[in-house]
Symmetry: C2
Subunit: 204 residues, 2 copies
């Protein structure tokens, strides 16, 4: 054999051309839609790529596995819950119950974020991989922060019982849609739930 | 044509032979297993019949549609929650929080009933038909009873917020399995949750 033939040159491949931050965001948005619609198991990398109008290769390039796309699309949805004003991390402790409840409904009442959260719930309930991703995010982010903030030996259990009250409301109001909870005014629910969250987190 | 030929006689059909209360219970148990394992959508009447070792025709004969098998298998699981000692329906109102919490963990800590409840959660989260069945049972049974017992104008919303605390704990402890909640001693959780349930139901 003689010298290797030079590699064909021409237009950059479709993947190169699409390798932009905007494409990354588009993939995450498409992933949220797909996971929300179909759940973790039935969603394929190919379907996400198609919905985002990019090559499958680009999805792999940015995120690796389907599990990692899922984790990234969840982080985008959960991130604001953890760092925004109104979360446990900011403001005086004695208002944390109301701030958390208010922020929780702000996120769920917004149709775009609700979609991401429904994706998490639907996937985590039916798939062990997705549940593992959810567990890891809760432990690594939510619980560690709350524990630091509360500075109590049982801070993590407290945080989880408070979270359980909100998760249960999300299930009955947004997923199962049981009346009268499904149509109740968010302010009315916040008024009733804020003291419960507060008490879970800070009561002696 | 002359007189009709007599119909062939012989052994009763397999369906007739199996038409017993025991077969009905076996079908319900098999349905719970299948729904818990696969969720509502992926479970077929044929698979339930096979698992119960009866003809599909018998499943249709007893229950009609898949939706109706699902409803019956849920009722078997939820029934005790509503009528057993410890439910809202019996005992003084000021102990109802602890009674409900204690009964809830009794049911979830029992591997057999846990399976039925997981079937409900998995199916209702992912399928609108299953969610509708769940909604109907909650409205028709749980809420009506609690409303009668509490005799307050907002009794149903109170009952749902109390239920939400328990549903959320079930999600995080038994479905997602987030630590430390997943391994916490049930007594410890009951101690913390009973006052919350009580307050949702009876606080002014």
């Amino acid at each position: 054999m003689t010298a290797a033939t030079p590699r064909r040159r021409g237009r950059p491949s479709r993947t190169d051309a699409q390798d932009t931050p905007a494409a990354r965001d588009r993939i995450l948005a498409a992933a949220r839609e797909e996971f929300a619609e179909r759940g973790f198991e039935k969603t394929s990398m190919r379907a996400i790529a198609k919905a985002a109008d990019v090559d499958s290769a680009l999805v792999h390039h940015y995120f690796g596995t389907k599990e990692q796309v899922f984790e990234a699309s969840i982080e985008v949805a959960i991130g604001p819950l953890l760092s925004a004003p109104g979360s446990v991390g900011e403001g005086p402790l004695d208002g944390v119950g109301e701030r958390l409840a208010r922020f929780f409904f702000g996120v769920w009442e917004n149709p775009a974020t609700r979609k991401a959260l429904l994706a998490i719930v639907r996937s985590a309930v039916n798939n062990e991989t997705a549940a593992g991703v959810f567990r890891r995010l809760i432990s690594a982010q939510l619980l560690r922060r709350v524990a630091l903030q509360l500075n109590l030996p049982d801070a993590e259990l407290r945080a989880e019982l408070a979270a359980a009250q909100l998760v249960g409301i999300a299930m009955l109001r947004y997923v199962i849609k049981v009346e009268p909870l499904a149509s109740a005014d968010p302010e009315q629910i916040i008024n009733r739930v804020a003291p419960v969250i507060q008490s879970h987190l800070t009561a002696p």
